[in-house]
């Protein structure tokens, strides 16, 4: 099936690559007007990396906190319902996140997060130097961060569970507090697995389409390279969703499919890497699960 995906994407993007060649990866213009067509993927690659980077900065610490709380701190009676609620977050369809982000969170983000940041740092740090509008990479990144919390926290929990009990007991017997045990035993032991969990979250954030398309502002070409946190942008997936139905020429749609191909390769690489990290961690400690 994976081969089918690879074949379709390669087949569909052949035209774009035959015309643009390798320049496709480095070009920044995007002009779908017939006769003057020219497409470059670079802005969207950057947009994808920036928005999912913000998502990671927000999602990873929160997810790890949740995983540690549920598996190390809370009793089972409190932990299980919390785990259940957090996982419901994953069951909410992404279109509903999109709707919420567009009509509710956008305003919260603009008025209570972005504006204060802008007023505090706008003059000093160029990252914040743009009047916030709400529809930008920053808002998109935050919502993506919320969306990847369930995945990262649930896998991290599995990983933390795989840390042998004896290791923890050794730390406790030396008189370590709970946090000291987590910091000096659990986290070092689970490090590679937790990294894998975070990377899986990254893959998810990069592939997310609808939410991003609704709140990132959807600029194209050079303008899609975000120069500040509050700039509009566009990601690989959202540009496909936005323009696919309006693509008038086969060259245009093939360029969009080529973007899909880049996204495909990126996420495949990320997933394979993360999968290896996570499964190695869980496999080497099969007896550790209770």
């Amino acid at each position: 099936m994976l081969a089918l995906v690879a074949f379709s994407v390669a087949d569909g993007s052949a035209e774009a690559f035959s015309i643009e060649g390798l320049k496709f990866f480095g070009k920044t213009d995007w002009n779908p007007v017939e006769g003057r067509e020219s497409y470059g993927a670079l802005p969207y690659v950057i947009g994808t990396l920036v928005s999912s980077g913000i998502a990671m900065v927000i999602g990873v610490p929160i997810s790890l906190g949740i995983a540690i709380f549920i598996s190390e701190i809370a009793s089972k009676r409190i932990g299980t319902p919390i785990a259940f609620v957090v996982e419901i977050l994953a069951a909410v369809p992404s279109i509903i996140y999109g709707l919420w982000a567009l009509f509710v969170f956008r305003n919260i983000s603009r008025d209570f997060i972005e504006r204060p940041l802008y007023e505090a740092f706008g003059g000093a740090i160029p990252f914040f130097a743009k009047t916030p509008f709400g529809l930008d990479v920053f808002t998109a990144g935050i919502v993506l961060g919320i969306m990847i919390i369930p995945i990262i926290s649930s896998i991290s929990r599995e990983i933390i569970k795989a840390v042998p009990r004896s290791q923890r007991e050794a730390a406790y017997s030396l008189g370590a507090t709970r946090w000291e045990t987590v910091r000096s035993v659990v986290i070092p032991y689970a490090k590679s697995g937790l990294l894998g969990a975070s990377i899986l979250g990254l893959g998810r954030a990069m592939g997310e389409t609808i939410v991003v398309m609704m709140i990132i502002g959807n600029t194209t070409g050079l303008a899609a390279i975000p120069t500040t946190l509050f700039s509009s942008s566009q990601t690989l997936s959202s540009v496909i969703a936005n323009e696919f139905n309006e693509a008038a020429t086969t060259f245009h749609s093939s360029a969009l499919i080529a973007l899909g191909g880049i996204l495909f390769l990126l996420t495949i690489a990320i997933n394979i890497g993360a999968q290896v990290l996570v499964s190695r961690m869980v496999k080497t400690n099969p007896g550790a699960r209770e």
Binding site: E87, A91, V92, I96, L99, T177, W179, E180, A241, G260
Partner: protein
């Protein structure tokens, strides 16, 4: 001499106590931080559910559920075609995805012998779950839309089934593995062939888990939007042919939300509420009708987690 020692010990003890209270304080602070993380995750969920119910409840009535959309911006009619389309397309996708997914899961746990081949299948199955759905939409577009020459319902169903299969495979394999070996051995001791044991004994004992997995996969694809843009396009009419565009709830929500009319927005919220209700009742109803009598939170939570891994691991 001994008094000196005592004094020294007291000092050390005092220092240790001070140190200890600081350590305990750090511990408390970190506990607080992790609780804050939990709260930070729950607030958006609460906000989403609250907003959808608050804004959506007003839009729903009989006309909204059954009629096609009226003139743009007037706020008449409803989302009937979208509901119908979602039901049709999810049913078709399940027809394709469930048998393939369940059988592949059975293969992995019962017939694969944990060999090299099943290792690769499992590995790539996991990788597949991490593929962006828009990429899968591209597959549907290339394979079925271009060859048929028009956006159509089958392209959408196939794309959704590709999303569904890895989830079903993973859950099926895991649940079937939990069936105790003694049950299978009882079958062998009666001389029943392996395929019969698998189909009628093992699968049957694992029924609940497998069904839960299927329901979760269904509720996931019911909310998919991105691949549908590329495969069924969306329309404001009821389903009338296998060769033309179809509508679906997520697509309709997207279109409504991006129109500049307040009436369209309230329709969008209404459609979102229906989508959530559809997804939730599907899983809750099935859980109570077919599954365990007792509400076993831990089991559901485990399967949900699998699904959350999305699905990933």
């Amino acid at each position: 001499m001994s008094r000196m020692k005592h004094k020294h010990r007291d000092e050390i003890q005092k220092a240790m106590q001070r140190h200890e209270s600081r350590r305990l304080l750090t511990d408390k602070i970190i506990t607080g931080v992790t609780i804050a993380c939990v709260v930070a995750a729950i607030i958006p969920l609460g906000s989403i559910l609250f907003e959808v119910i608050k804004n959506g409840a007003g839009a729903i009535n009989a006309e909204f559920l059954t009629q096609p959309q009226g003139a743009i911006g007037e706020g008449t009619g409803g989302v009937g075609p979208a509901i119908q389309g979602t039901v049709l397309i999810v049913a078709l996708a399940s027809l394709i995805g469930v048998p393939i997914g369940v059988l592949a899961g059975i293969y992995l746990s019962e017939f694969g012998n944990n060999g090299r081949f099943s290792y690769f299948v499992r590995f790539f199955n996991n990788v597949m779950t991490g593929l962006p759905s828009i990429v899968i939409g591209i597959v549907g577009y290339i394979v079925l839309v271009l060859t048929i020459g028009s956006f159509n319902i089958m392209a959408g169903a196939v794309a959704l089934s590709i999303i569904m299969i890895p989830i079903v495979v993973g859950v099926t394999e895991e649940t079937i593995k939990l069936v105790p070996n003694s049950i299978r051995e009882a079958g062998y001791s009666l001389g029943i062939p392996k395929w019969k044991i698998t189909m009628f004994i093992t699968l049957r004992s694992a029924k609940n888990g497998v069904l839960t997995g299927i329901v979760l996969a269904i509720s996931r694809i019911a909310g998919e939007t991105a691949p549908l843009i590329l495969t069924i396009l969306g329309t404001s009419l009821f389903f009338n042919s296998f060769l033309g565009p179809v509508d679906a709830l997520p697509l309709r929500i997207l279109r409504l939300a991006t129109q500049p009319y307040p009436s369209a927005h309230s329709f969008g919220w209404g459609a979102a509420l229906i989508l959530i209700i559809l997804v939730m009742t599907l899983s809750i109803a099935l859980r109570f009708l077919v599954l365990e009598r007792r509400f076993r939170l831990s089991h559901i939570s485990r399967v949900l987690r699998r699904n959350a891994n999305e699905t990933t691991s």
